[in-house]
Subunit: 293 residues, 2 copies
């Protein structure tokens, strides 16, 4: 399976940005699956809390039809990352998978961050579709989104439900004021934890992140420098491709889904899980305080 990673910046408007996305898609040849970054049509608006941005989600149905059409035209499986209006006042951060003109399924971001500059809890209701792989003509896709990548639980459940590959549309970056050493730790941690999901579950993984500096329109913070470094790794966590820190670009990687069987047979982690001893995983914190109020 040939997978394209489309890493780009925001170009000031949805139209200009989407045009660039299509340019990048058109430049890759003979790909089966295309992964776009998180909220690829929009700026990373979660830098501020403003109701203005909810208008973007009103076009969800139009967006669906547009990206469905792209997947049909290009005969690809396409993972788009959209802002979904479910009802006025009820919005999700939603990845939609299109399979050559059909909607194959959607995933609503389950883990929602809220940190300075990443005020997603204001915009996105936590997903209620659970962690369900999406069946497509190229395989069962374990689509997760950005903050989900820090939670081994999400990747594990996708694997236990039969996902054949893990996909992470992402928007993550640095604050320029952070020391270089801290910036390096953050980037390394981001790559390391995702590679570890590949290893723990014997699955290939693709993460696509945006690039470019986006200022904080509210002026509270100085803005985010999205760090790119979109990458793919195999089921032993081995890096297969890694894009630049600051360039708009596409990458194409060949991924062999059959290698998972081979790796899992000699690294049989799924065989040895101690499920009878894992009940604590369903608790917030295992200090008993919610039982002894």
């Amino acid at each position: 399976m040939r997978v394209a990673l489309i890493q780009q910046r925001y170009h000031g408007s949805k139209e200009a940005t989407t045009k660039k996305t299509l340019d990048l898609i058109n430049r890759v040849e003979g790909v089966d699956l295309v992964l776009l970054q998180e909220l690829h049509q929009a700026p990373y608006f979660c830098q501020e809390e403003s109701t203005d941005w909810f208008t973007l989600a009103q076009d969800f149905e139009i967006d669906l039809e547009f990206w469905r059409w792209v997947s049909e035209e290009r005969r690809i499986v396409l993972v788009a990352s959209l802002f979904e209006q479910r009802a006025p006042g009820l919005y999700h951060n939603t990845a939609v998978v299109f399979d050559k003109g059909k909607i194959a399924g959607r995933y609503r971001k389950m883990h929602i961050p809220d940190d300075p500059g990443f005020y997603e809890k204001f915009y996105f209701t936590p997903g209620d579709l659970g962690f369900e792989p999406i069946e497509t003509s190229v395989g069962r896709l374990g689509v997760l989104i950005c903050w989900d990548q820090w939670f081994p639980e999400a990747a594990r459940i996708m694997a236990l439900k039969g996902a054949q590959i893990l996909l992470y549309p992402t928007a993550i970056g640095w604050f320029d004021d952070d020391p270089q050493e801290e910036q390096r730790r953050q980037l390394e941690a981001w790559i390391t934890i995702q590679r570890s999901h590949a290893i723990a579950n014997g699955l290939p993984l693709v993460a696509v992140n945006r690039v470019g500096f986006e200022e904080d329109r509210s002026g509270c913070l100085k803005g985010i420098r999205f760090w790119g470094n979109s990458f793919a790794c195999g089921p032993q966590g081995e890096l297969l491709i890694q894009l630049s820190t600051d360039q708009e670009e596409s990458g194409v990687v060949e991924i062999d889904l059959d290698r998972s069987r081979e790796v899992r047979e000699i690294w049989p982690f799924l065989r040895d899980r101690r499920i009878e001893a894992y009940s604590c995983l369903l608790e917030r914190y295992c200090d008993g305080s919610e039982k002894n109020r």
Copy 2:
């Protein structure tokens, strides 16, 4: 807290090997916590399945007393990795934590591997003490053992139960016949997945592995070249120390347990876990087959 990593080879007998362990411990100055490798008194006997090796476990009580004495003499917290006879025909791979002359607690390896050359299921009954941090004078230690390191569940539960540091006595190595590229993937995966446990849980982590080549006494396989690379990382997964691939040596690293709070406050993964959506983690595989027999 100053932590010593003691990475060594097997010297042909328990006496000679233990003498070397004590030499290495004596060479480190002013340490609070000492971590030894998995089954540090013995060869890695699980390369073959032979009842001969069970005799080693009969000395468990003597071993306890010896390492308790070492911890008292040196005024250290010491994590030893021993072969425990619980009853004839019932054995565990057990880490024991000694705190300046007292037994602070024990952990019985929960995840037991069984691969060519690593026939541990023959020797070790899977642990029945669960994942419980051990309280000591230097903090609550999340002691896990080797194969446990491939399971994010184990690290997570230790964190949820209040562990302040994750510790992994280990015995892992290469087969010389494997291509170099495969050997590199294995070593990188081993480091990557453990760093990811530090990241996911905002905890420092120390892993100690043995070095040296040990032949397979049964002659079935050619033996294992233990790859060393004992290391420690901080709560962002940042490497703090990494020992060599093939040398017997000790390393000392300063670990600041208070950094976990700082890291967790800005990377608040524990805040956002979707525990109501994790029930699949308690299943072997989420295909429903065990319910629909």
